[in-house]
């Protein structure tokens, strides 16, 4: 066997995992890898700051259903990945992060650009590797992709010292079958527990399905639809569960939580059985659910055994994959009819209607809630919307309707500002062969956190449309200040410079529009959609429009 340079072997291993794109930023400790990129079919996308690279990988993974890959050099390159890796961890997104490391002999000497990145990321990686020996590369890369994409997905980090990349390896692409002693994810639900769950479902008078990100990640939407329809059980989602169930379906009951719909929280509080599928019941989802009856039963289906009983006591735990367990549940004879409960829900719904007006009334500028409602009517059935973090996120999550094949991505768990632009770009790279409508929704705060990535949008002429909601404020924090301390108690939430976003877009050659009336937005949106290449629509919202 002809010896192969380890850096080339790394790229060969990535090819074996069907990697198309690596989102990265070069540096000294990954020079051998970049030399190998020159002759590899894998495309390297140069991001403009390592901080965004994991978000590209995350958006790519969510859109394609495959593992996203990001790359950075040692030291500051690696530490810049940390927030993005943590973001992927909290949302269970399968990514592999590769970092360069200083030469093995220099590890631990505080060498130039040395950082203990496996140590720094230990709390937010599903697993990590420090490659000590080039011969291990085929096994480690195989395992990393397997671990990232199976069971409960999540980020895996591979730290590779520069001198390891320069070794000659004779083994070639060995190691096909993954066999990790301590990692055997359980997909099938326990049959005894499934029987008990079925019994509870038959007995329940007011059941609710609470669908989380696990349904979306597990591609279990059609199974959920079949199960809910067969048993006439209403479906509520978490923020991460948006897209688990069509929002125009009669059984759809909205989004729960402190930032959800009021009626959804009321419905959930009234249930006597909650069937939780792939949601972790985080504090943000349950803070408005204080009134659980003592006899409310919880069935919790989750692929991660540690989620069960962590935040909420569970009557019936089922460890397994959402798709598999739902398929098993559908096969059982459970047909139930909850006409009285569904009628009660209709009353709850009409008593707690969605409020589109600003409170207090403040604005003849754009009403963001109406904007997203209108946008729902004017966009294609396979649109992807990537919400950032802040008011823009909640407005788009609550008022843009996810129906048919639409998707909604956001940083739900960690709440990382600056997520939307790079994640939407990642999604755009995943759909280059079949371009579709991809919308970035961000505020003037989150936009400025990642606006360097406009360079990537322009360079690759990505077909993304940026809906930039501007109010020269950090709106959600401002809302918290208003709620906690009262009117006028604003601090550090003014963006005290009126940026000319039109000129900024022009500098990048991005077609841009500025609107301050909903009617005008509705006029320019079809134009922006028709435009080949990136667009930006700046939407002026009144600073005092702080209600979600």
């Amino acid at each position: 066997m002809i010896p192969l340079l380890a850096s080339k072997l790394i790229l060969k291993c990535l090819e074996r995992e069907n990697v198309e794109f690596v989102f990265g930023y070069p540096g000294g400790a990954v020079l051998p890898l970049y030399e190998a990129f020159r002759t590899s079919p894998i495309k390297h996308i140069l991001v403009r700051n390592e901080q965004t690279a994991p978000h590209y990988a995350s958006g790519y993974a969510r859109e394609s259903g495959r593992v996203g890959v990001c790359l950075a050099t040692s030291g500051p390159g690696a530490t810049n990945l940390v927030t993005g890796i943590a973001t992927a961890y909290l949302d269970s997104i399968p990514i592999v992060a590769i970092t360069g490391q200083v030469d093995r002999a220099l590890i631990g000497t505080d060498a130039f650009q040395e950082a203990d990145i496996t140590g720094a990321t230990a709390p937010f990686t599903k697993h990590s590797y420090l490659v000590q020996n080039a011969a291990d590369i085929p096994r480690i890369i195989r395992e990393a992709f397997h671990i990232a994409s199976t069971g409960r997905p999540g980020p895996v980090l591979i730290d590779i010292p520069r001198d390891v990349q320069l070794e000659n390896v004779k083994t070639g692409l060995t190691y096909d079958k993954v066999d990790i002693m301590g990692y055997k994810p359980n997909l099938n639900g326990h049959s005894g527990q499934i029987k008990r769950a079925i019994k509870k479902i038959k007995e329940a008078e007011k059941p609710v399905i609470y669908a989380g990100g696990g349904v979306v990640l597990g591609n279990a939407q059609s199974e959920l639809l079949a199960f809910a329809e067969k048993n006439n059980i209403p479906v509520i989602t978490s923020l991460m569960g948006i897209g688990a169930f069509p929002e125009d379906h009669p059984l759809y009951c909205g989004i729960v939580g402190s930032h959800g719909y009021k009626y959804s929280n009321v419905v959930m509080n009234g249930a006597d059985l909650i069937i939780n599928i792939g949601a972790r019941m985080s504090n943000r989802a349950t803070s408005h659910l204080t009134k659980f009856e003592k006899d409310t039963d919880f069935v919790h289906i989750d692929i991660d055994p540690a989620e069960i009983g962590k935040n909420m006591e569970t009557s019936i735990p089922i460890v397994g994959d959402a798709k598999t367990v739902l398929s098993e549940l559908i096969q059982k004879d459970t047909i139930t009819d909850h006409a009285a409960w569904l009628a009660e829900i209709e009353t709850i719904r009409s008593e707690n209607p969605l409020v589109y007006d600003a409170d207090p009334p403040c604005s003849d500028l754009i009403n963001p809630k109406v904007l997203f409602k209108d946008m729902s009517e004017m966009t294609a059935d396979n649109t992807t919307v990537v919400g950032d973090v802040g008011l823009n996120q909640i407005w788009s999550a609550l008022y843009y309707r996810i129906i048919k094949n639409r998707r909604y991505y956001t940083s739900g768990g960690l709440g990382t500002m600056g997520y939307s632009i790079p994640a939407a770009c990642g999604a755009s790279f995943a759909t280059l062969d079949k371009p579709k409508e991809i919308f970035i929704v961000c505020g003037d705060g989150s936009f400025q956190m990642s606006m360097g990535e406009l360079g990537v949008i322009a360079e690759h002429q990505l077909n993304v449309n940026i809906i930039l909601i501007t109010n020269t404020k950090l709106g959600m924090v401002r809302q918290l200040q208003f709620d906690n301390y009262g009117k006028g108690h604003y601090s550090g939430t003014d963006i005290n410079f009126d940026i000319d976003f039109m000129k900024l877009a022009e500098a990048y050659g991005i077609k841009s529009y500025k609107v301050d009336k909903n009617a005008d937005f509705n006029k320019v949106l079809p134009e922006a959609i028709k435009h080949q290449g990136p667009t930006l629509i700046q939407c002026q919202v009144h600073p005092d429009f702080i209600r979600i």
């Binding site: 496996t118 140590g119 230990a122 709390p123 599903k126 697993h127 990590s128 420090l130 000590q132 671990i147 990790i180 002693m181 301590g182 990692y183 991660d304 055994p305 540690a306 009983g309 962590k310």
Partner: protein, 165 residues
Amino acid sequence: MEKKTCLSLLVENNFGVLSRISGLFARRGYNIDSLTVGTTENAELSRITITVTGDDQILTQIKKQLNKLIDVITVIELKPDDSIIRELVFIKVKADDTTRSQIVEIANMFRANIVDVSRESLVIEITGTRYKIEGFFEMVEPYGILEFVRSGDTGLQRGGKILSH
């Protein structure tokens, strides 16, 4: 209700495994009373014994979170009724010509060993359960304990059962 529990783990002998385990305890706010680690009959595996204090919910979470770590192969709870759990302690006690023989007599009663003697002190090696060691401390305390070091609990299940992968 809080209780002390002894966990026995079989782990892959990989880089960073110990820091992953101790990090898990630190970041989730679990307290480790003691932790011991050593090699096993298989060079690729290590065995770790951890003693923790917490209520049932926390102990269940600890076991589940440990099981989530890729390097962790098996986690079991060593129940006092069907396990052997012991600790090794070295105690340096003040001892002069008048007290030395009394201390040696106490050590003999506890089947402890004298492993070092000087004009002013004795070092005693004692192995046993938490209760035996507490009893021994009580007996030698009046003579003056200069310092001591404890290995932390380590243990095995009784009978033919083994921790396998």
